[in-house]
């Protein structure tokens, strides 16, 4: 399901990393019209004052001037793969080097300089929603990875249930799936629990300490 789009930016806080007063003045007044609660400006010398850990992706949005050395400073201050909040680039000199810098810090929209009032809402809408969509995608990938890692438990649970109940693999899978839904658990977690519950209690061999991630394997090893 597509995430809901954010359309009303009331209460968001903007941090502007830029030092031209003509730029920051226009941006500040345009953002106030759109309902942003507060705007803080950092000039080139004050970038270290910014507390990047305090930025909240649900509440903050950053505007970064690509023409000054903000991008490099931000790169050092933030984890490139996870920008602290949505970042909107302020682009004057649109050369590949400058644009690559914005890309590297996770910029999801841009405003050309000089900033036009009418473009600010569009940039906010695209920048913040693209950031959210990217987060959503990262979460999905992480979830898929977790499920992929859990498939081994599904295979083990299907085999165990086939043996326990003398049923086919399709029947075993269908039953596990149905039971997991009834328990309101995802299939992989349910199967892991099923396998662990089905396995006989591990009995250490003489002088052997059992170390293992999978009780079923460990149990098999113990019984062999």
């Amino acid at each position: 399901m597509a995430p809901h789009l954010i359309q009303n930016f009331k209460g968001y806080h903007a941090s502007i990393f830029g030092s031209q007063s003509s730029l920051t003045d226009t941006l500040e007044s345009a953002l106030a019209r759109i309902g942003l609660g507060s705007v803080k400006t950092y000039d080139a010398d004050a970038i270290t004052d910014a507390d990047f850990d305090s930025f909240n992706p649900q509440r903050d949005v950053l505007f970064v001037d690509s023409d000054i050395e903000f991008v490099a400073a931000l790169s050092k201050s933030t984890n490139l793969s996870a920008p602290p909040a949505p970042i909107i680039g302020l682009v004057g000199i649109g050369t590949p080097g400058r644009l690559k810098g914005l890309l590297n810090i996770g910029c999801t929209a841009f405003l050309g300089k000089p900033v036009h009032d009418a473009a600010v809402y569009s940039a906010l809408f695209l920048g913040i929603n693209q950031f959210q969509a990217r987060h959503e995608m990262e979460w999905r990938i992480e979830d898929q990875e977790r499920r992929r890692r859990g498939r081994r438990w599904v295979i083990k649970a299907v085999v165990a249930l086939m043996q326990q109940s003398a049923i086919t693999d399709d029947e075993a899978y269908a039953k596990l799936r149905q039971d997991s839904m009834r328990m309101r658990m995802n299939l992989e977690t349910y199967c892991e629990q099923f396998v662990m519950d089905s396995a006989p209690a591990p009995r250490p061999l003489d002088g052997e300490q059992l170390i293992g991630m999978c009780p079923a394997t460990d149990a098999k090893r113990a019984s062999s």
Binding site: H4, Q7, N8, F9, K10, R33, A118
Partner: protein, 385 residues
């Protein structure tokens, strides 16, 4: 005051598909000019009137012509399409467009003053009224351009939040007058009301054909499926014609039937100055307000410099025909008084509801919309075990 004439532009399509409305806008602007001549006899204004004839290309050409000639202020445009077309020119020449009509919002520009209603001053009051009086199932129709698209989106989100629904959305090309298919679909869907964003000749054709189709089927259209819109005005009622003019709802900050002393003077003055012209309307009033604000600001600053004029404009409070009006210094939109009118057979509106006073403009619906976009309700899910 210097006797050097101050040139201002008046750009209205007094011919073309929506000229019924825009003629009255020019009348409103001209009335403000004649009042200014009387009040400020030393102020020499040279109006430059241009007619883009409803052609989008002509808006750009004519606006640029005025701006190149040194005109710093233009009152004009009706459709959002034309406004969007000329705004870059006003930014390029650092001049001011005084935009005198209601619109869909989601815009501010340092080079535009908005004297018509923003969406929180027209769509949202209309929705509340129709939900209370007509029902929760709406059918949306509109002319196929930004005004209808955005208004319908705002309407759809707001009605969904309030537990209502949009049965369907249908769009017709600007100027299209064959409404048979839309009318047939509405009659088969039987909504509680129709939210119309049709403009000009398409709107008039729709009102006529919808009423005729309902009459043929013995349906009391105004009672069973009333049409509500944010742009229907008195001159348009005259255009729709007898027999199908009554029972339509309109949300507007001004109706010719508003009971204020300023409105009595306004309607009399319009009728005297422009005999035979259509009645006063929200658009003529908005053009009157825009031109009045502009001329007073020029008088107070003794200049047409746009920064000075803007500063002076936000200090003005006008006893307008609709009531007191002033500009919001942050958005340069106007504080206006929302009202709901129901059309009658005399081609005027009976005011059935009105706000207690001027309402702050909220062009981005910052204070009147949810943070997230609202999806239409999903089908009910059934848990299968």
């Amino acid at each position: 005051m210097s006797s050097r004439p101050v040139r201002i532009g008046l750009m209205f399509s007094t011919t073309g598909s929506y000229s019924v409305v825009t003629k009255t806008m020019l009348n409103g602007a001209m009335l403000a000019l004649s009042e200014c001549y009387r009040l400020f006899p030393d102020l020499v204004i040279e109006p430059r009137i241009v007619n883009p004839e409803g052609e989008i290309r002509r808006y750009g050409e004519l606006a640029e012509g005025l701006l190149k000639d040194g005109v710093r202020h233009v009152v004009g445009c009706y459709t959002s399409l034309s406004r969007k077309e000329v705004i870059p020119l006003f930014e390029k020449y650092d001049s001011l467009l005084w935009y005198p009509t209601h619109y869909e919002g989601f815009e501010t520009s340092n080079n535009v003053i908005y004297t018509g209603a923003a969406p929180n001053q027209h769509i949202l009051p209309l929705l509340d009224y129709m939900l209370a009086k007509a029902g929760k199932r709406a059918f949306c129709v509109g002319s196929n351009y930004i005004w209808a698209w955005e208004n319908t989106r705002v309407f759809r989100e707001a009605i969904t939040i309030k537990g209502g629904s949009v049965l369907a959305e249908k769009y017709a090309a600007i100027g299209d007058t064959d409404m048979r298919q839309i009318v047939d679909t509405i009659i088969s869907e039987r909504p509680d009301f129709i939210f119309s964003n049709l403009i000009g000749s398409s709107a008039y054709a729709f009102f006529r054909q919808f009423r005729a189709a309902c009459d043929e089927l013995g349906i009391d259209q105004p009672a069973r499926m009333p049409v509500a819109s944010c742009s229907l005005s008195e001159p348009e009622l005259e255009e729709i014609g007898a027999g199908c003019v009554d029972g339509h709802y309109s949300s507007s900050v001004y109706f010719s039937t508003v009971k204020t002393a300023a409105n009595a003077l306004f309607t009399d003055a319009l009728a005297t100055a422009f005999p035979g012209s259509p009645a006063a309307s929200a658009d003529s009033e908005a053009a009157y307000i825009a031109t009045t604000l502009l001329l007073r600001s020029i008088f107070h600053t003794q200049s047409d410099d746009i920064k000075l004029v803007k500063k002076a404009a936000v200090r003005q409070r006008i006893a307008a025909p609709q009531g007191e009006v002033w500009l919001d210094p942050q958005t340069f939109h106007s504080w206006l008084t929302p009202r709901i009118g129901r059309s009658n057979k005399a081609s005027t509106f009976d005011i059935v509801e009105q706000a207690s006073g001027p309402v702050r403009p909220d062009p981005y619906l910052v204070d009147s919309s949810p943070r997230y976009t609202v999806a239409s309700p999903s089908p009910q899910l059934r848990i299968v075990t």
